[in-house]
């Protein structure tokens, strides 16, 4: 079947298209315009509409043990729990797996990466993802606080052995990449360490955070895993120390690819009478000057949310600010983690400045292919806040209006009012389509050239950018219309995109023994078995680089 999306404003920076034209789709794939006069079977009139590839979110906590614990912790936020639905704190949030898929699709997102899957929670995460409709999914598996990795580094094991362990973990958990969260920090917290810097060493291992990050970066690069090591730095949210940690980590990239997550939480200085200030300029300058690094923002937006993180040390510290006053702290193998509810208030100097710092970073980092659009859902804000974030980036008038509502003390501490930049449609398409596909190593996504998967978002232009991006006019997933006028019209099931590196047999034997002897668990339990998800086609395997 041939479908023609006719006469839309096609914004496809990966293929240098930015003008009125057609897009043809056949059998779920974008194809060149037919050379014969063959009439399409279906025509979607896109006259006056903007046509882009489906958007990709590279960092959104949508599935797995910690996300599900947040659901358990906060029943009062679910719409249906209230006798008067509609006005509860997270009433608009895609909170179940079902809503997550539907709400993302309605905004034109067709792929979302769950960025913090513990190896022991891989099957759980994939079970949830298999229940998440329409969108494609992927996961990053977390390493770097685990006993084995730190022991291997301490014992001076070979790069090959370490890479074999990483490959086994990625293959068993069906991940698309590797993440490292406060490298060594969670392990140190189990030894009652309360602050952990990049060059601090984990007690009993004598291994520093820097060593762990560098070792993992080397393993990931060496294995040809397309997505660079995804790093959540030390000292998240600690004024001064956060900014020092991320600067040290960026400098440690040393020419090899590295991705830094939710950098807004690291743009904090300790200047001013409240000992809280913006270091966005310095951080943006460093990112601009370090071409091997990519970053995502983790924008804070105002309102009730919940933070979900495998950074147990920082979540424990943050639990003192929990609102409402309850949190769950996990002491699991390796990372552990925490779930801490947070209410970001526009009238709070600290929260308002966090909001401003995120936007400063978005606007000061020059290359839209190296800065990614995230709220670190739900940590900075639920993903349902995205339409407002698009508006803030694309319209300085909107920013001015938001700024007016903030405490005057904040305006003195941010350069946001002076920043005139407005993201163009093309820059938005780079940041949310072309660049994420490249970063993840999924070349048939993020663009509309022949051979691309027909994941397409069509928007109705509007001066109100939040309205434009909040409800897509059409969304096609694998060539099928799934959303019309911002409403899901067809519920399909996407796939989890994974790597499948071939694990080394000797390493497998070693891990069988290790998990059995040390933890008393079976290494098989870390595997996501073929068929466990009970879906027809749950995975799409993409290759590692040669």
């Amino acid at each position: 079947m041939l479908t023609r999306l006719k006469g839309g404003h096609v914004v496809d920076p990966a293929n240098n298209r930015n003008g009125v034209g057609d897009v043809f789709v056949s059998d779920g794939v974008v194809v060149d315009a037919p050379t014969d006069a063959k009439a399409p079977d279906e025509t979607i009139d896109c006259t006056g509409l903007v046509v882009m590839a489906g958007a990709i979110d590279i960092h959104s906590h949508i599935a797995g043990g910690h996300v599900n614990t947040a659901r358990l912790l906060l029943p009062e936020w679910h719409r249906a729990f209230s006798a008067r639905p509609g006005e509860t704190a997270l009433s608009k949030v895609g909170w179940t797996t079902e809503e997550t898929g539907l709400r993302y699709a309605e905004m034109g997102f067709t792929m979302v990466v769950e960025p913090a899957m513990a190896p022991s929670s891989a099957l759980h995460a994939h079970l949830e993802l298999a229940d998440t409709p329409i969108i494609d999914k992927a996961t990053l598996v977390v390493l770097g606080n685990d006993d084995l990795m730190m022991s291997m580094i301490r014992d001076g094991e070979s790069e090959t052995a370490i890479a074999d362990y990483v490959a086994w973990t990625v293959a068993a958990s069906r991940a698309l990449g590797v993440k490292c969260i406060n490298a060594g920090g969670s392990a140190a917290f189990k030894e009652n360490v309360r602050k952990f810097d990049f060059d601090d060493v984990v007690p009993d291992y004598g291994v520093s955070s820097r060593q762990i990050v560098k070792t993992l970066q080397k393993a990931v690069t060496g294995l040809g895993i397309p997505h660079p090591l995804h790093v959540h730095c030390n000292n998240l949210g600690v004024p001064g120390a956060a900014s020092d940690s991320i600067a040290a980590t960026i400098r440690a990239a040393e020419g090899d690819p590295l991705h830094l997550a939710h950098i807004q939480f690291y743009g904090y200085g300790d200047e001013g009478k409240r000992r809280f200030s913006s270091r966005a300029q310095a951080l943006a300058d460093l990112v601009n000057a370090t071409p091997e690094v990519t970053v995502d923002i983790g924008q804070v937006m105002f309102g009730q949310t919940v933070t979900i993180s495998s950074d147990e040390l920082r979540q424990f510290a943050g639990s003192k600010q929990a609102s409402p006053k309850k949190s769950v702290i996990f002491d699991h193998e390796a990372n552990g983690g925490g779930v801490v509810p947070m209410d970001y208030k526009a009238r709070s100097f600290f929260n308002a400045l966090q909001w401003a710092i995120g936007l400063e970073l978005f606007l000061l980092i020059e290359d839209p292919s190296r800065v990614f659009f995230t709220t670190d859902h739900p940590n900075g804000a639920p993903f349902t806040a995205y339409p407002d974030v698009f508006a803030l980036l694309m319209d300085r008038g909107v920013r001015a209006k938001w700024l007016d509502a903030l405490p005057s003390s904040v305006k003195k501490m941010t350069q946001l009012p002076e920043l005139e930049r407005e993201y163009t449609l093309e820059e938005i398409a780079v940041m949310t389509r072309a660049a994420p596909a490249r970063l993840l190593g999924t070349p048939d996504r993020g663009h509309l050239g022949a051979g691309a998967g027909a994941d397409i978002a069509v928007y109705r232009p509007n001066d109100d950018k939040a309205a434009m991006f909040g409800k897509a006019a059409y969304v096609l997933k694998d060539g099928v219309v799934v959303v019309k006028d911002g409403t899901v019209v067809r519920r399909t099931l996407g796939r989890a995109v994974t790597l499948r590196p071939e694990p080394d047999k000797a390493m497998k034997t070693r891990l069988d023994r290790y998990f059995d002897e040390r933890y008393g668990v079976s290494s098989r339990w870390f595997e996501v078995p073929e068929g466990a998800l009970r879906r027809d086609d749950p995975f799409e395997v993409v290759p590692c680089r040669a």
Binding site: L74, F81, L123
Partner: protein, 370 residues
């Protein structure tokens, strides 16, 4: 071999499906419960429940609700058993239920020694028990027992908290010295683990234990290992949370999932005093269950037990998950979901297949609609 029964008499599966569908269609308020099945069975049960506006609960959720209630009222510190095995140098066992419902966990802790952590590794693990029966064995480790009646345990935990924070407190049920000893034991740990059964201590008692561990973490490290008689109910609650937003005890009668831990509990609905007038009960595990509430309602049974369920209007024979077919379950020791291959694959349908087939008859495939 018969696979379906109507009013106790063998029937063709198609006829049984038609009869069950008709009962569900005629019911003013169906209840879907039991839920002793695997992940795909629960997925199908929740999908069917949403389609027919049913109330849903697990037959054994009484075993886990004290934990869930405490967690969502006040938060929690939770450890993974495998991590505690390697790290906890001191273990406090509260109550006598632990030995009954989690003997494997206790054995794992008593038979091993911590091997991680500067302060914790290398030494034999130490144990304190605050309950009636002393621990059977503490391996190489030292075990001290404080005899305490079940109804006094939570009070003693409160006294230990008072002692730790330097507040004055009375003698309590076990005496001031024992309280001081427990406080010292926990405070002096490199990493303390508190093992308890929330169903024994109740929701408030569980909150008190989490409070104790929260206090300890101000200066040292500690976590908990709550144990329950029904791992299967915990898995179902987790799956309910991602599917409907709530850990079961939900009603789909008004469309969106509504949660009410009292109104929608299996005990209330199955008693006949609730809103439900028909129960669909899934019981498809090889292991015996902890026992759910009795069912006073007309019943559709989906069971791996041989033969028709006594008194059921319709019975379907299905395979036992993980025995007759591959399955995925929540595993308490692992703290997450694990795959379990079939012991010996059989021709029996899965619970999910029967529930999906019922859903098909009630208006399209709905297993995914939850």
């Amino acid at each position: 071999m018969d696979r379906a029964w109507i009013d106790g008499r063998p029937a063709a599966e198609a006829d049984a499906l038609a009869a069950a569908a008709e009962l569900l269609e005629r019911s003013r308020q169906p209840f879907v419960g039991g839920l002793r099945t695997d992940v795909s069975g629960i997925r199908a049960a929740l999908g069917l429940a949403r389609r027919i506006g049913a109330i849903v609960d697990h037959g054994e959720s009484d075993a886990i609700y004290p934990l869930l209630t405490a967690l969502r009222d006040g938060g929690a510190f939770l450890g993974a058993p495998a991590e505690m095995k390697r790290r906890a140098d001191r273990v406090l066992v509260l109550g006598d239920e632990v030995a009954k419902v989690a003997p494997d966990l206790l054995a794992m802790l008593t038979e091993t020694e911590p091997d991680l952590g500067v302060r914790t590794r290398g030494d034999a693990r130490e144990f304190r028990s605050l309950c009636r029966a002393p621990l059977d064995s503490a391996g190489r480790g030292r075990a001290e027992h404080v005899d305490c009646a079940p109804e006094d345990i939570v009070d003693v935990v409160g006294l230990v908290r008072a002692k730790l924070s330097g507040r004055r407190a009375g003698e309590g049920a076990v005496g001031g010295d024992a309280v001081a000893g427990l406080a010292e034991f926990l405070k002096g740990a490199g990493f303390a683990a508190v093992v308890f059964a929330p169903a024994e201590l109740g929701a408030l008692g569980t909150e008190q234990v989490f409070g104790l561990v929260s206090d300890l973490n101000e200066t040292t490290r500690a976590s908990t290992l709550p144990v329950s008689a029904s791992t299967n109910a915990m898995g179902a609650a987790l799956q309910g949370a991602w599917t409907s937003g709530f850990p079961l005890r939900v009603g789909f009668g008004r469309g969106a999932a509504e949660h009410d831990a009292a109104l929608f509990s299996a005990r209330r609905q199955l008693s006949g005093d609730g809103e439900a007038d028909l129960a669909l009960i899934v019981d498809a595990l090889a292991e015996p269950g902890a026992g759910g509430p009795p069912c006073a309602l007309p019943q559709i049974a989906v069971t791996s037990e041989p033969g028709a369920v006594e008194g059921a209007r319709v019975t379907f024979a299905v395979g036992a998950a993980g025995c007759d077919h591959d399955a995925v379950f929540y595993d308490a020791r692992f703290g997450s979901f694990v795959g379990r291959p079939a012991d010996a694959k059989s021709e029996l349908p899965t619970a999910a297949a029967i529930l999906d087939a019922l859903a098909d008859r009630l208006g399209g495939r709905v297993a995914d609609a939850a």
